[in-house]
């Protein structure tokens, strides 16, 4: 068994000859080439690449499901697909995108790759558990694909009982098992991140010197560890109910179907913060770099992240305003949901304020970050509509919810993921992507996204219910706009695949810090060595110490000339 951890640099038998020099740089990428060196790796960076490939595959699968749905919805009649096929498509789209793309995307790809480097350590606390989490993800994903190929499941990604537990005739149990298994992948990643951030920060890197990306990953990990077990329990109960009719959810044998909704949303509402918080962390990094400024109100952003994570656990009842939940419970959940608006608004204002008096470079990651601010603003404000009970009664279970959710998840989270992927691509692979093609794709995605999802706000207000295979004719124009937007969006997603793969071989060499960014990940070579740093760095400066010469001293022997350095003015 080879272990990539045990090799000192330059001890490999295979040496890749670089075109521009005889001395091959030792990196995590050329530290072993065989399939074993990847599938048995414990290097967090290689595991991140494994995740990158896997989640990109699942994104393509989920996107294909969405494409077929939008094709069906171009006409009011259910003429392209049977009702059952359509129902399976939206179910599988939701399941694949949420559990196999959105939840793992930023934590498992960018977080895995960057978290140890950004806090100045060699790897995560438990490298083998990290690999295990990927294998668990793959097993869960394989089960999901198996279900998709052998008939699918039609309960909606929400698995509402008693439909899922008693009435559905599709592969509910295998699918639930797939989601159940994949949950453990999240839990292990979260656990690994929490321990790593607590125990393995480089000397001098105190909590309030951490990059905001790390704060976001930390908050996300807390939710993953605390919330996912509830989902696992809930899904287990659905499986048991279905197989053995034990009477948890089925009212005909004494169960309560609404109990399922409480349990499900207790995880699944915090889960939307699992999906969005890491994206917010990425945005803070990108904006700081391309304004060459400290993030405005660092500690307020950090605490707003924690506030969202905590409040996120107390708002699940806003999914149940029309389910028969008591009016009093509804009022309590409504007011707590409204509170979430405050930390969310604080973030938006701080990012916007960071732009002020910066030196702004509108690069591709910055385009995504600016797009994120705009789309997340819309996504967040439309959340208020759904937190206010009297308006939610009309809007819930309509396309308004679909639009709101996609503005946050696709307009917010996916924009952040793509921005982060472009931002750290040079670090991950040592090559620059072609800037023009990347900007072009970013603009296409922005336009396609808005055309796809904005009409759905109007459809929802007019009352078109979600999950409808056929619909009244007066909704057709807006549905056609949405389907047209989806085709543009699909093109926008395909372009990056080409130029990013192209850049791996032909992209311009990036060097350690192509953006002139601050942060430990930019002090090491691109791509980094297997152990990330030659020597463990000692951190003496705050996060985002832009405007000053580098003050990071490398090596334990160096004396720090100014340990209490604060490089900023206060307004």
């Amino acid at each position: 068994m080879t272990s990539s951890m045990s090799h000192p640099p330059n001890s490999q038998g295979t040496v890749r000859v670089e075109p521009d020099g005889p001395q091959a740089q030792s990196t995590y990428l050329n530290n072993g080439y065989g399939w074993k060196s990847w599938l048995f790796t414990v290097d967090h960076k290689r595991i991140a690449i494994l995740y990158l490939v896997s989640i990109s595959f699942f994104f393509a699968v989920g996107g294909a499901f969405a494409t077929m749905m939008r094709l069906e919805l171009a006409t009011p009649q259910g003429d392209v697909l049977q009702s059952d096929s359509y129902n399976k498509l939206f179910t599988m789209h939701g399941l694949v995108m949420i559990f196999f793309f959105l939840v793992p995307s930023i934590p498992a790809v960018l977080g895995n790759f960057l978290l140890p480097i950004m806090i100045g350590c060699k790897d995560l606390a438990f490298p083998k558990i990290n690999l295990l989490s990927w294998y668990i993800y793959v097993i869960g994903g394989t089960m999901t694909l198996y279900v998709a190929l052998t008939g699918g499941v039609d309960t909606g990604w929400t698995f509402y009982t008693p439909y899922s537990s008693t009435y559905a005739n599709t592969a509910v149990v295998p699918m639930a098992l797939g989601v159940f298994i994949t949950g453990f992948s999240s839990i292990l990643t979260g656990l690994n991140f929490i321990v790593t951030v607590h125990k393995m920060r480089a000397p001098g890197l105190t909590w309030f010197k951490l990059p905001l990306f790390i704060w976001a990953q930390y908050a996300t990990s807390l939710i993953m560890v605390l919330g996912t077990p509830v989902l696992a329990t809930t899904i287990l109960l659905v499986g048991l109910e279905r197989l053995f009719h034990i009477g948890i959810f089925d009212p005909t044998i004494g169960g309560d179907p609404v109990l399922f909704q409480h349990l499900f949303w207790f995880y699944s509402h915090p889960a939307v913060y699992i999906m969005i918080l890491p994206g917010m962390g990425v945005i803070s990094e990108i904006i700081a770099c391309f304004t060459k400024k400290r993030v405005f109100g660092y500690s307020f952003i950090a605490f707003s992240t924690l506030a969202i994570a905590v409040l996120g656990f107390l708002v699940w009842g806003h999914h149940l305003f029309v389910s028969g939940q008591s009016a009093f419970a509804g009022i309590v959940f409504s007011v707590i949901s409204m509170f979430v608006a405050v930390p969310s608004a604080v973030k938006i204002f701080n990012w916007t304020a960071t732009l002020y008096k910066g030196t702004i470079e509108v690069t591709t990651p910055m385009l995504y970050a600016l797009g994120f601010i705009g789309l997340f603003t819309i996504g967040g404000l439309t959340g208020l509509f759904l937190a206010i009970m009297s308006v939610d009664v009309h809007l819930t279970d309509t396309y308004f919810v679909v639009a709101h959710f996609h503005y946050v998840m696709v307009g917010g989270m996916l924009m952040a993921y793509l921005g982060g992927l472009h931002f750290w691509w040079p670090k991950m692979f040592g090559r620059m992507y072609p800037e023009f093609a990347a900007k072009f794709a970013a603009v296409i995605i922005f336009v396609g996204f808005n055309l796809t999802f904005f009409p759905q706000f109007l459809l929802g207000y007019m009352g078109m219910p979600r999950r409808y295979h056929a619909y009244p004719e007066e909704f057709q124009v807006l549905n056609i706009l949405s389907s047209a937007g989806a085709s543009i969006l699909a093109v926008g997603y395909i372009i990056p695949v080409f130029y990013l793969v192209w850049s791996l071989k032909w992209g311009e060499k990036a060097g350690p810090n192509p953006w002139g960014a601050k942060g430990l990940e930019w002090t090491t070579q691109s791509p980094p060595t297997t152990h990330n740093f030659d020597r463990i760095p000692v951190v003496t400066e705050e996060a985002y110490a832009y405007g000053h010469e580098p003050t990071i001293t490398v090596g334990p022997g160096d004396d720090n000339p100014n340990p209490h350095y604060k490089g900023s003015t206060h307004v």
Partner: protein, 327 residues
């Protein structure tokens, strides 16, 4: 497709106006905030774009005053909205004293309604205008949700418990009923229409007939009112209903013919068979169809069944010219 292209839902209930007021305030808030953020971002990007003039970014750590300002102002706004929205919601929970009680049962995939006077309807609801109506609802199988967008009202029908919603229509007309909670294969066909009538028309509707109407005309109205056509095509050119194969046999030209039955037998379609099919629909199911039709026993008087039979008798077969073919 452009003929019928509304951008706003009809507003036809007393609560709709109040709910829309909150909605429009939220829309205005969203537009103003989004425009402000976009404008600030664009202005800063233009003003502070990096140029080769040697300017360096001014480092600003933050501002506690600003942070407090932009935390407290949103907090005040959302709390104001919360109290306003909740006040409206409390009204939505409290029907007036003179409310009429209707009963509603959802099942895969139809809505069954019973009027206070005993009449029953399926996938249709006839109500008088300017009269508060309370629905007490439940489900026979999975969770459904009874949604009338024009009234801005919706409530889940949950098996094993009763839920309630009330509304008071203030406009005469016909509006959509949707099932809003995903309930399986034909979720998108679990739809219907609510017909808001004047008090007089509602009385006439309740009595089941209009004076001087021919049995065929009365039967046609009943046929439409009971939404029989949501399963039974009445035009041989119509192959699909709401985009799926019809659930019931084609009725045009069926009268007097002999049809094959699911159990292998045959039967001549006459008044007796039509009556039996309405009252005990599962007794003789036509071959090729599933036994899904609910009974209408007790929902239609004998006179009304005669009228429906008369209407079916009047439906001509395929050889008759048809203007429904353009669909």
């Amino acid at each position: 497709m452009w003929k019928n292209f509304p951008l706003l839902p009809p507003s036809a209930s007393t609560m709709a106006v109040q709910i829309d007021a909150v909605w429009w305030f939220l829309v205005a808030l969203t537009v103003v905030m989004t425009v402000l953020i976009f404008a600030a971002v664009l202005t800063f990007v233009v003003m502070f774009r990096k140029k080769n003039d040697g300017r360096v970014a001014t480092q600003i750590e933050g501002s506690t005053q600003l942070e407090i300002l932009w935390s407290v102002i949103p907090l005040i706004i959302v709390m104001g909205l919360f109290f306003w929205g909740t006040a409206v919601y409390v009204q939505m929970m409290r029907p007036p004293k003179n409310v009429m009680d209707f009963y509603l049962v959802g099942k895969q995939w139809m809505w069954k309604v019973q009027h206070p006077t005993g009449q029953r309807e399926i996938n249709a609801l006839h109500i008088p205008v300017n009269q508060a109506i309370r629905l007490t609802q439940t489900s026979e199988d999975v969770i459904h949700s009874f949604f009338i967008p024009a009234f801005r009202t919706k409530k889940d029908a949950v098996p094993g418990r009763y839920t309630q919603q009330w509304f008071e229509a203030n406009e005469v007309g016909t509006f959509h009923i949707f099932c809003a909670e995903y309930c399986g294969t034909k979720h998108s066909q679990m739809i219907g229409e609510v017909t808001v009538m004047t008090q007089e028309d509602y009385e006439i509707w309740l009595s089941g007939a209009v004076a001087g109407e021919s049995p065929e005309d009365a039967g046609k109205k009943l046929f439409e009112g009971m939404r029989c056509a949501s399963c039974h095509p009445i035009d041989s050119a119509v192959k699909l209903i709401d985009g799926v194969a019809a659930r019931g046999p084609l009725l045009a030209g069926i009268y007097g013919t002999e049809v094959a039955l699911k159990n292998g037998g045959k039967v001549v379609v006459d008044d007796t068979y039509i009556r039996e099919s309405i009252v005990r629909p599962l007794a003789k199911v036509v071959a090729g169809f599933e036994p899904v039709m609910p009974t209408y026993e007790g929902q239609l008087s004998e006179e009304q069944i005669i009228q429906i039979a008369a209407y079916i008798k009047s439906l001509k077969g395929a050889e008759a010219p048809s203007d429904g073919a353009k669909k």
